[in-house]
Structures are given as structure tokens and as C-alpha cells.
């Protein structure tokens, strides 16, 4: 197990875990745990550096990977945050923004599930239309927003009643709705490496800050990790805006973090690491 010290940005966290994994002979870390104290927007130059390895191979870009967790293009955030004393028209504005996101994605879900690799659904599809195969499934995300707003209305500054279930038909059908979270993973799934790699998302509120932990059972550090971090950050900020809790910490637990040495080689990974290090150093100097 390797627990990294807290990082202050997505890029620093990605760089930290990538460096540590690349430094091992086979490029793998067992039980890597990392947290980002202030997850914010991605750095375009770092996105470009990651994409430069993915695009020539015809692989999904950082933006596309991020869209699997939270399709940012479908959400136009209103210029206000939830508060218990908002006027009905203001709450309607917030709800309309969220409903646009949900409905646009749910409507596209049949098409999205038709693409190669999406046969078993998509992450966001499972969040807004469980179990993620049709447009009329259970909307976990909407329900969690409602729950957290209810806590906020009652002045609760701490709660841990909301996690997201990303797979697990049995769980979601048998459990009481209040007890389940955002489900991604099915309990009788015996596959060792396939969708979904993201198996669980848990939300906690402490000190009026909403924090999120995501568990990956196999985290591909070049193909997916940075895009995953971007998508999870957007999910966290969406939930924060819609519930009125301040955005808190983003934590990742990767049961195996894989630098993909077999695909990219130590040499190529070292070049990528050097590029990101230079970029972060430049950013620091600007600040």
C-alpha cells in the first residue's frame, strides 16, 4: 500500500502517482491512495501532453475520458449556488440546469451504449439512469442532490449518507433507497479487468465541505487517470453547487495503479513526467 501526502492540484496528484508507478519495474502500485485538497480546472498544457500520447494511437482524449464521469458540455452552471433560503424561482433555475444535464444524457444513452466499449453502459449513465442501459432508469444523482439539500436545509454540517452505486442490480433493488449510494459495480461480477474500473463513489460532508472518494480497481495512469480526475472534479463541483456545500477533498483509492509500461515504455513515460514537471514548475513561477 502507498498513501501519498495530500496534493493541492489534479496535476500534482497525477504526476505523483505516475512517477511512483513508473519507478517500479513493472509500473504497478498496489493500493495507491491519494487525495487532492483543492481540485480545480485542468491545466490545458498538461491535457495536451497527455493527449499527445493518446491521439496518435486513436485512443480517447482526456476530455472524452472526463466526459464518461461527468459530461461537462451538457451542464451550463447557473450563476448561483443552492442555499436553504433561496427563492422558488432561484431553485427552479438550479433545478433546470441539472435537469438539462440529466435529460440530455438520458436521451442520448441508447446511442452512447451502442459504441464499442459501452455495451455494459457508461459511468454517467449509471449515475443518472441506473442500471444504465435505458433512458428511464433510476436517477441516483438527482436523488443524492435532493438528500444533501435536505441535510443542508436542516443545518447539518456533517453527513455520510450518500454514496454512488455504479454496478449492482441486486443491491439497488433490495436496499432501501436512503441506504444506497451511487452504484457502479455489481457484487457478483467476477471479471478481473473490464468496465467498470470505477467501482464506487462515496460522498461525505464534514465541516460544511462536501468530499468525494472514488475507488478504482484498476487505474490506467496514462489512458484514463488524468481524465478521471477531471471528470470527478466536475462531478464534485456540480454536487457542491446543487447542494450548497463547499467543495472539499477529492480522494482516489486505486487497488492497482498501472503506469502502462508495456504500452508506452519507461522512456516515453519519463518524457511525459518531465513535460508535466516542467509545466507545473512554470505555473508555480507565474504564481
Amino acid at each position: 500500500m502507498i498513501a501519498f501526502p495530500s496534493f493541492d492540484s489534479l496535476e500534482a496528484a497525477w504526476l505523483g502517482v505516475l512517477e511512483a508507478a513508473e519507478a517500479t519495474r513493472d509500473g504497478r502500485l498496489l493500493h495507491a491512495v491519494l487525495s487532492i485538497t483543492d481540485p480545480e480546472a485542468p491545466v490545458p498544457e498538461v491535457v495536451a501532453a497527455n493527449d499527445a500520447l493518446l491521439l496518435p494511437r486513436g485512443d480517447h482524449t482526456v476530455d472524452t475520458v472526463a466526459n464518461t464521469v461527468f459530461p461537462a458540455n451538457l451542464y451550463a452552471p447557473p450563476e448561483l449556488d443552492y442555499l436553504p433560503d433561496l427563492q422558488p424561482a432561484e431553485i427552479q433555475l438550479l433545478d433546470a440546469g441539472a435537469d438539462d444535464l440529466y435529460s440530455s444524457y438520458r436521451d442520448m444513452l441508447p446511442e452512447l451504449c451502442g459504441f464499442d466499449g459501452n455495451e455494459r453502459g457508461t459511468y454517467f449513465g449509471r449515475l443518472v439512469s441506473w442500471p444504465g442501459k435505458t433512458s428511464d432508469g433510476y436517477n441516483q444523482l438527482k436523488r443524492r442532490v435532493r438528500q444533501l439539500r435536505s441535510h443542508r436545509d436542516r443545518g447539518h454540517s456533517a453527513t455520510n449518507a450518500a454514496d454512488f452505486v455504479l454496478e449492482g442490480v441486486a443491491e439497488i433493488e433490495s436496499a432501501t433507497i436512503e441506504a444506497v449510494g451511487l452504484q457502479m459495480y455489481k457484487s457478483d461480477d467476477e471479471r478481473q479487468m473490464a468496465f467498470p474500473c470505477l467501482v464506487h463513489v462515496d460522498l461525505s460532508v464534514v465541516g460544511n465541505r462536501l468530499s468525494l472518494i472514488a475507488v478504482y480497481r484498476h487505474w490506467h495512469l496514462v489512458h484514463k487517470a488524468y481524465g478521471n480526475l477531471v471528470g470527478l472534479t466536475r462531478l464534485l463541483h456540480f454536487l457542491s453547487q446543487q447542494t450548497g456545500y463547499e467543495p472539499g477533498e477529492l480522494m482516489i483509492h486505486a487497488t492497482v495503479a498501472n503506469a502502462e509500461v508495456g504500452t508506452f515504455s519507461h522512456t516515453v513515460l519519463k518524457e511525459l513526467i518531465a513535460q508535466v514537471q516542467t509545466q507545473l514548475k512554470d505555473d508555480q513561477e507565474v504564481i
Binding site: 461537462a72 440530455s104 442520448m108
Partner: protein, 153 residues
């Protein structure tokens, strides 16, 4: 929260969700939270109603690539409550038409599939590749490839 705090939060949110956070973000396939009195009541219908109404079925069925390209723009413009001219100020793709991201492209295909119906449209699965989802023109070409002529009874 002070005004300065609110302004900073807004700026951070724009960076995370808005035009600064990635490519092709000038086009968002959703209405701007303006409830439409003529749209169906179900919230699930609100986001797509305007786009469906903007799509000309006849052009989609038999128009040229250039004509269908205008339809793609019209769908995106209607769904974002912007004008086509506004959209056309966005980033261009290699083919010279407006660049869009894959999610927007799938959104357009979904609207076209609705307008043409299952008999007039070949499903995407197995009939497309990632390069079909990069620009207004590539989507228009995809539509002309996947549409089916329906002979009236």
C-alpha cells in the same frame, strides 16, 4: 459570502465547466435554463424539444452534405438558444467547419434519429468511427451515410 468571493467562485466554475476548460466548449447542446412554455411538461423533454423542432425532416432525409451541415448547426443553435452566426465564431476543425466535441455530435445524431424514425435511420453501432464526431461537417457526412430513404406506401 462577499461579492469578491462570489466572483472568484464564478470564475473558477467557468474554468472548470466553461470555455476555458477544454476544446470546443463554445457549443453546449442544452438550453440555458429557460423554461419553454411550448415544450412538453416533462423535465426530460425540456432539453431536447427545441432541437427537435429545429430539425427539418425533409432536408435531413434528402439534402446534400452542405444542406445537412446547416441543419446540424440549426439543431445546435436551437438547443443552446444561440444564433448560427454566434456558433460559427467557434473553433474550426481540420475540415474547415465548426469543431464540436463527441458528446455534442452524439446529441445531434440522437435528434436526427428522432426526426427520421427507426425506418429512416441506421443505428450508429458498428456504422461509425471516432472521426465522424469531430465537426459539423463530419456529422453531416455521417447523417447522409446513415439515413435511409423511406418510400411512401
Amino acid at each position: 459570502m462577499t461579492e469578491a468571493d462570489a466572483a472568484e467562485r464564478l470564475a473558477r466554475r467557468v474554468a472548470l465547466f466553461g470555455t476555458a476548460s477544454g476544446r470546443h466548449r463554445a457549443v453546449q447542446p442544452i438550453p440555458r435554463h429557460q423554461l419553454d412554455a411550448t415544450a412538453p411538461n416533462s423535465p426530460d423533454e425540456l432539453a431536447i424539444a427545441a432541437a427537435v423542432r429545429a430539425a427539418d425532416r425533409t432536408v435531413l432525409q434528402s439534402g446534400s452534405v452542405a444542406q445537412v451541415e446547416r441543419q446540424v448547426l440549426a439543431i445546435l443553435a436551437a438547443s443552446t438558444q444561440r444564433t448560427i452566426a454566434e456558433l460559427e465564431t467557434g473553433e474550426l476543425s481540420r475540415d474547415g467547419s465548426l469543431a464540436i466535441d463527441s458528446m455534442n455530435a452524439v446529441f445531434v445524431c440522437r435528434i436526427v434519429a428522432r426526426r427520421l424514425g427507426p425506418r429512416g435511420w441506421t443505428r450508429l453501432r458498428g456504422n461509425c468511427d471516432p472521426q465522424d464526431f469531430v465537426s459539423v461537417r463530419s456529422v453531416a457526412r455521417l447523417i447522409t451515410r446513415l439515413r435511409r430513404r423511406v418510400v411512401a406506401a
